[in-house]
């Protein structure tokens, strides 16, 4: 039985610009002693996923549902008070991103480490302090540290204090949100080794959130790749890191600079999408190097891309000249041929252009049909849905994978 089983977890925020789909239907399971690395670009919803699991919700939550099974129990059904008493820190604890700020500047660190014991198990102060000392020692800190205030510690020390704090109740799952990102490499390695030891001795499960694929591969049994609020690929670390199924994962791996490598690191063109209005279909299709018919271009995106193409000098002579374009529905648009081009001419030219350049301009692949009307040309696009995540041990959400599996 998995220690943690997350199913269709959803967390949306309300903002002035509209709902932010920060976590959109995420599922994964974690066995005891297993570590999952959540990897993704900044803003892809990793921290939000962690917060959603611990039910740490800001005021502007718009939607929060799904299932989180912890130790076989669906904790989403607990009341806030039950959840606080039984799950928080006792079952699942967390090392926050920017852990330095997670310490109260006005309270001695020893007390902060010990506090959960007093809160959850009514341990008296001195006893709690003793246990805190043990844990602090375990993470490699000298005992006198307990009496200091946070501002008297170095960054690496604070990081260890926060890790100690997360371990004090011997939880089953620890969420580590970029626990090492602000540290130098030596300290990083130290902390990763510490985490590895703890994992082996205490059979802890980690959710290890990071940008750093190298670190992720050090520690992780499973890898989950997040993109625009979705978990797009999840599977065994040795598999995902070696032969990624999802094109995004591939790009991500290729973008990691390698030491002493001749290859220049690849990069992913474009920027991550706006989570208030995630793209239809596959959320990655705007940047995907292998996107195709089914990946979900909308008429509006099509128009935008076409405009871009027209204005880019390089393709000017090849692009059929266009007077104007307008979206008719999400999957169809009308094009008025430009300067004295007849409709039938235009259809021909367009077809030729698509045939010639669709490998490069992948959005052209989304054309299902081109029909000449009296004065304009109607372009129909393929209708699609977001790719479902398929697979059992190793799942990915990409039409290529789905098709391949079929």
């Amino acid at each position: 039985m998995p220690t943690l089983d997350v199913k269709n977890l959803v967390l949306w925020y309300r903002t002035r610009k509209g709902p932010v789909h920060a976590v959109d239907s995420i599922s994964f399971a974690l066995e005891p002693g297993q570590t999952i690395a959540l990897v993704g670009e900044s803003g892809s919803g990793k921290t939000s996923t962690a917060n959603a699991i611990l039910r740490l919700l800001p005021k502007n939550v718009l939607r929060y549902d799904g299932e989180v099974e912890f130790d076989g129990q669906n904790v989403m059904e607990l009341t806030d008070e039950e959840f606080r008493r039984n799950v928080r820190w006792r079952g699942i604890s967390m090392v926050f991103q920017g852990a330095m700020n997670a310490l109260n500047p006005a309270v001695r660190v020893g007390f902060q480490v010990a506090e959960p014991l007093m809160v959850h198990y009514d341990v008296d102060r001195d006893e709690a302090a003793d246990q805190a000392l043990d844990v602090l020692r375990k993470v490699g800190l000298p005992a006198d540290i307990a009496r200091r205030y946070p501002h008297e510690l170095s960054g690496g020390m604070k990081q260890r204090v926060v890790i100690a704090m997360s371990l004090i109740l011997k939880p089953k799952v620890v969420i580590l949100d970029e626990p090492t990102s602000a540290l130098d490499v030596m300290t990083q390695t130290n902390i990763i080794n510490l985490l590895k030891d703890l994992k082996n001795t205490d059979r802890l499960s980690y959710i290890f959130i990071t940008h750093d694929l190298g670190l992720a591969s050090e520690l992780a049994d499973l890898v989950g790749i997040m993109y625009a609020g979705e978990l797009i690929e999840v599977g065994p670390a040795d598999g995902v890191f070696v032969r990624p199924k999802h094109p995004y994962t591939g790009k991500l791996l290729a973008s990691v600079p390698r030491l002493r490598s001749e290859e220049a690191p690849d990069f992913i063109p474009g920027a991550p999408p706006d989570l208030t209005a995630p793209p239809p279909g596959c959320r990655f299709h705007l940047r995907c190097p292998v996107s195709f018919e089914k990946c979900g271009w909308s008429a509006e995106e099509f128009i935008a891309q076409m405009d871009l193409l027209q204005s880019s000098g390089e393709a000017k002579d090849k692009v059929p000249s266009i007077a104007s374009m307008s979206a008719k529905s999400p999957t169809s648009l009308l094009i008025k041929p430009g300067a004295n081009g007849s409709v039938s001419d235009f259809v021909q030219k367009l077809n030729a252009f698509v045939a010639a350049t669709s490998e490069k301009n992948r959005f052209l692949k989304s054309i299902e049909s081109v029909q000449g009307k009296t004065k304009s040309v109607e372009v129909k696009l393929y209708e699609t849905t977001p790719p479902p995540i398929v697979g059992t041990e190793w799942r990915a959400a990409c039409w290529l994978v789905t098709e391949g599996a079929a």
């Binding site: 740490l56 928080r88 700020n101 997670a102 310490l103 109260n104 500047p105 006005a106 809160v119």
Partner: protein, 404 residues
């Protein structure tokens, strides 16, 4: 140690500032010597009139008249120290004021007809202390409570309404509310007296009894809370003990007092206290709300919640604690402002405290009283600022890190 050294430095600096402030007051209170001239003129005309009514004097030859007049005039001037050049005198005044040797009033006197400035001031000081301390403490407690509530319900209709109310009430000074309250409650509804200290004349033996027990009690209550809030179980009992002692003192004080007189006095204090509280609570609630919201956004508060602390504990142990140094700062500063703001408020209510005394003294050009009062005001401010520093360094261990 760092904190001690820091506090010592502050103390020295504050003492220097205090001396300078007193000297500035001495110079201004005497109008740079102008008041001396006014007083001299007064003496001159008084003397002239006195002699004009004296038939024996009138019969003397003019030279003799002039001579005699000059002799008595000069002796009076000398007796009052008006012949010294002002520049010299200003140092003497300052020196005396610093020793709290405030001299004799020229016009005003206390209710037992003493003309010593210190008697006059100390007769009135407790009244102002009680009125403004009570009003400000009530406003602060209510304001902080409201601010916490607003922060908890942040962005709700309640919060928005209360925020606007707070922001719009605290820009208006107490005396304006005073006028409106008197208009409404004393004249339209006739529930409270319009002003004054009491409607019955007799005075209690020593007015100091009035002020000190409640002040000590307030101090005990405050200290008790601080100890209690330091959240270690051992100290909690001690904190409770101190709180209890404060409450008991208040109770005993309330029982011992001559009931009618004080009831009457309290009755008269309600409107002015309400006016002060009404104009002050808004800055409390608004500041508290904003600071608490700001702190609630801090990662360590988030972490506290993740650790499974109860919301109430998160609020009291983490949020309030982190927000309290700035809150205390604004407490002390509004209190300090309230002291000088009292002048008009007390005048509006004809409440015979320091403020009204100041107004009377200024109207009568009673320079010694003015200087004495300003000294007392400055002293109160200095003490407030210093206490602020002490509290700050107690509440916030980062003090060293924060102060450059």
């Amino acid at each position: 140690m760092g904190v001690v050294w820091h506090l010592a430095k502050r103390a020295i600096f504050l003492v220097i500032t205090f001396i300078l402030a007193i000297y500035a007051t001495v110079v201004i209170a005497n109008g740079g010597g102008r008041v001396d001239q006014i007083l001299k003129d007064q003496i001159y005309t008084d003397l002239k009139q006195q002699y004009a009514r004296n038939p024996a004097f009138q019969r003397l030859p003019p030279q003799e008249q002039a001579r005699q007049f000059n002799i008595s005039y000069n002796s009076i001037i000398e007796a009052q120290g008006l012949n010294e050049p002002f520049f010299q005198k200003s140092f003497r005044y300052t020196f005396n004021a610093l020793q709290l040797n405030l001299g004799r009033a020229t016009q005003l006197h206390s209710s037992d007809l003493s003309m010593r400035v210190s008697d006059i001031i100390f007769e009135r000081l407790p009244r102002s202390l009680v009125l403004f301390t009570v009003a400000n403490v009530v406003a602060a407690v209510f304001g902080i409570w409201l601010g916490l509530w607003m922060a908890r319900k942040a962005l709700s209709a309640f919060d928005r309404g209360m925020t606007v109310l707070s922001v719009t009430t605290f820009v208006v000074p107490p005396w304006v509310y005073g006028i409106l309250f008197i208009l409404i409650f004393a004249y339209v509804f006739k529930v409270f007296p319009a002003g004054g200290l009491t409607s019955v004349p007799p005075l209690p033996p020593s007015p100091l009894i009035l002020a000190f027990p409640p002040l000590i009690a307030a101090g005990l209550l405050g200290a008790g809370y601080v100890v209690y809030a330091r959240l270690r179980s051992k100290y909690r009992l001690v904190g409770f003990g101190i709180l209890g002692a404060g409450a008991a003192l208040l109770l005993v004080w309330g029982l011992v007092l001559p009931a009618d007189y004080f009831k009457d006095m309290e009755w008269h204090m309600i409107l002015p206290a309400a006016a002060v509280a009404f104009s002050v609570f808004g800055s409390w609630s608004y500041t508290t709300r904003n600071l608490v919201l700001q702190v609630m956004d801090e990662d360590f508060v988030f972490a506290a919640r993740a650790k499974g602390l109860k919301e109430r504990d998160v609020l009291s142990r983490y949020v309030l604690r982190a927000a309290s140094p700035p809150i205390v700062t604004s407490l002390a500063l509004t209190l300090a402002a309230a002291w000088t703001g009292a002048i008009i408020t007390e005048t509006v209510f004809q409440y015979p405290g320091l403020g009204l005394l100041f107004y009377e003294a200024i109207s009568l050009f009673d320079a010694p009283v003015v200087i004495g009062l300003t000294t007392v005001y400055a002293l109160l401010l200095v003490v407030t600022v210093f206490l602020l520093d002490v509290t700050y360094s107690l509440l916030d261990p980062r003090i060293k890190a924060l102060r450059r």
